[in-house]
């Protein structure tokens, strides 16, 4: 068995080597490709409250600066990093002006460490906390390209600029389908800050961290920047429809969509005879939803006959609920067909999420749909492995059958000898 595995591995290795040799050489790995390199914007609160000295005996601002300096030293080369401040410039009391006070401190692009550090060093705690406008500004800074985007928001207080709800702002940004994640770090463990920051994180599929020490702050920001550098498949935005007939045709790949509460959407996939369709769907709960929920993924023919379904239900705290299905289409019988006609399979994605009346239902919940079409399986003709047997009962049965056959054979040949002799 091991030999066989090695042989297979060898063949695979050879094939892989051939593929690599034949494939057009991509841009050299070390060189960051401006179009697809991940972008990160560190968004730092420089409001007056950052003066408070409650992180390891130093002020919040000093802790943040120290953490930034260490993080800037270790930013991976492929990441394009920018820095934005909120509440850094306006000293006055006018709320209207204070709530527009957000500025890009260092533009998103290849990092010049000295320049970025100098820019951070000039900051001193000043004004208001306009989180919503800062998020909008940061999303604008990260425009362009199709790689993943990440905002790391570091703040010590809740937004002081109502009625613009930063949580709703975050959800709206995420709904634009630009693969944007907001990770939040709270320097003050009070309930209001935590609720707001965890809501922002939840709305974009990000994380919330409560920070009490400089080391924690540094490690976490470092980790988040590194995370941005990890390669990840980015889904393609699509829009499912209410009926199968006018649904978008999907090729194998990863897709994203938005679906309202208790809504369903249709997509279409072509499957040729002898191929297997595989589809997985995840629906994210990006806001406060009721405790019990579910998802249903259904494959049906164009005429509405259900072929197979995947369903899942759950309750309690969750990021996503997902299900999947596979549909192997039988090989066509007619051998003379050169290109057998593909069957159009309708995929229906529905959810049974619900939410309290106070929760906004627009934009819909994020849907991630993965579609794969592979060669069909080798069908089983028997439940057992090649119809082979296993166990002591099998041995006993075979031995007994052999014994009986031997006896019978022996008696028959004796009888024949006797008959021949008497004649």
């Amino acid at each position: 068995m091991i030999t066989r595995k090695r042989l297979a591995a060898g063949v695979c290795g050879l094939l892989a080597a051939m593929t690599v040799a034949l494939a057009p050489t991509p841009a050299s790995a070390g060189e960051p490709d401006a179009k697809s390199s991940p972008k990160v914007e560190l968004t730092l609160d420089v409001s007056g409250s950052m003066r408070a000295r409650d992180i390891d005996g130093q002020s919040r601002m000093a802790a943040a600066k120290q953490a930034f300096n260490e993080v800037l030293d270790a930013v991976p080369d492929e990441v394009q990093l920018g820095i934005r401040t909120l509440g850094a410039n306006y000293h006055g009391e006018d709320r209207k002006v204070g709530c527009k006070d957000t500025r890009q401190l260092y533009p998103v692009g290849p990092l010049d460490r000295t320049e970025a550090k100098t820019a951070v060093a000039t900051l001193s705690p000043t004004g208001w906390t306009p989180i919503g406008p800062a998020l909008l500004g940061a999303a604008d800074d990260l425009k362009g390209g199709d790689a993943s985007r990440r905002i790391v928001l570091i703040t010590d207080g809740e937004d002081t600029c109502a009625p613009l709800d930063p949580c709703q702002v975050a959800r709206d940004i995420a709904a634009k389908g630009i693969h944007l994640t907001v990770d939040t770090l709270g320097l003050l463990p009070d309930a209001k800050t935590r609720n707001q920051l965890s809501c922002i994180a939840e709305a974009t599929g990000g994380t919330y961290t409560s920070v009490q020490h400089t080391k924690e702050l540094r490690d976490r920001v470092h980790q988040l920047v590194d995370r941005a550098a990890r390669p990840v498949a980015t889904p393609v935005a699509t829009a499912g429809t209410q009926q199968c007939a006018d649904a978008p045709k999907l090729k194998p790949g990863l897709y994203s969509d938005r679906e309202k509460f208790a809504e369903h959407r249709w997509y279409r996939v072509d499957v040729r005879p002898g191929q297997e369709l595989r589809a997985s769907v995840s629906i994210a709960a990006d806001r406060a939803v009721n405790n019990d929920y579910g998802v249903l993924l259904r494959a049906s023919t164009e005429h509405g006959r259900e072929i197979v379904r995947g369903a899942e239900a759950g309750d309690g705290r969750t990021d996503v609920i997902s299900s999947g299905l596979r549909y192997p289409k039988a090989p066509s019988d007619s051998a003379d067909d050169d290109a057998p006609a593909a069957e159009t399979v309708c995929l229906q994605v529905s959810n049974s999420f619900s939410a309290p009346a106070s929760v906004k239902t627009d934009p819909g919940l994020p849907v991630e749909l993965a579609v794969d079409v592979v060669d069909g399986p080798d069908d089983a003709s028997d439940a057992a492995f090649f119809g082979l047997g296993h166990g002591w009962w099998l041995l006993a049965a075979l031995a007994l059958t052999g014994l009986l056959t031997g006896l019978l054979w022996g008696w028959i040949s004796r009888w024949r000898v006797t008959v021949w002799r008497t004649n």
């Binding site: 057009p24 961290t209 596979r326 592979v374 089983a380 054979w409």
Partner: protein
């Protein structure tokens, strides 16, 4: 097709029988990398935060991750046909004063993101406010080589592990935790071997590389396809099994041999020993 497969399998099985003894000795040092220190060093120290970003781990590796309470941590590991995987997780809880008990949860999903049942093990566990750590475990069903499309049976492919806190006082959200996750796989032998094989293991994106090559006119397409999780990352060390071998071959062969011997014995029994007594000498 099927005949061809059986013939190939028989040949392979024969080769395997002769080859096993020779190569087992040579292979054994590399077969258990986890015991060495290099195995521990290679273990990932970060976890993914979604199905798409899940960190690939190998069986017998101990993956670690620093995270915040409330994060959803994802790993993915390959499990092949005939194997039964056991996933174990340990969470070191924050040392700072917590406000109440927290329930931690381990979920396992297959390559199609279908949730998989645990046969044994504490999948969820509630940690007291003063507990230092919490341990979770989940033993999956034995992975089958083939199943009907309507069944939820575990099939060969990537298995996602999700670790998160399912219930906690809101005040404890965001506190730092340290998580360790490891998986072991046990070979369940031919007793669980079934007929049929999948065209390809249930690994996400297994087909996307090929179609994109077909339609790519610009090199950018190649570049954008490259950052995806290469399907071959999620694979067992020796590659996926071809589904041609199980110890059922040995059982059946032994049965055949036994039947032949019993047949000869039965035939001999009817002949008695030596010449029949009634036959006159010199006949």
């Amino acid at each position: 097709m099927r005949t061809l497969r059986i013939v190939t399998t028989a040949v392979l099985a024969g080769a395997a029988l002769f080859g096993t003894a020779g190569t087992a000795l040579a292979e054994s040092p590399s077969a258990s990398p986890s015991t060495g220190s290099d195995g521990a060093a290679a273990a990932p120290t970060e976890a993914g935060t979604s199905f798409r970003t899940a960190t690939v781990i190998k069986p017998d590796q101990r993956a670690t991750a620093d995270a915040s309470t409330g994060d959803y941590l994802y790993w993915v590991l390959p499990v092949d046909a005939g194997q039964r995987a056991t996933v174990k997780a340990e969470v070191k809880l924050p040392r700072s004063a917590r406000h109440g008990a927290a329930t931690w949860q381990l979920d396992v999903y297959d390559g199609l993101r279908r949730r998989q049942a645990c046969q044994y093990g504490a999948r969820t566990r509630t940690a007291a406010p003063d507990a230092g750590s919490v341990e979770l475990s989940c033993t999956l069903r034995t992975v089958r080589a083939w199943a009907e499309p309507w069944a939820n049976d575990p099939l060969p492919g990537g298995y996602y592990v999700r670790l998160t806190v399912a219930d906690l006082p809101k005040d404890d959200l965001g506190l730092p935790v340290h998580a360790e996750v490891g998986a072991t796989v046990a070979d369940m032998g031919g007793a669980r071997a079934v007929d049929g094989t999948l065209g390809a293991p249930l690994v996400p994106g297994v087909s996307t590389a090929a179609p994109q090559d077909e339609e790519s006119t610009a090199p950018e397409d190649e570049a954008s396809a490259a950052p995806g999780k290469p399907a071959d990352l999620i694979a067992p060390d020796g590659g996926w099994s071809s589904g041609g071998w199980s110890d059922r071959w040995l059982w059946t062969a032994a049965g055949g041999l036994l039947a032949a011997l019993a047949g000869i014995a039965g035939y001999q029994f009817t002949r008695g020993s030596g010449r029949p007594s009634r036959v006159p000498p010199g006949a």
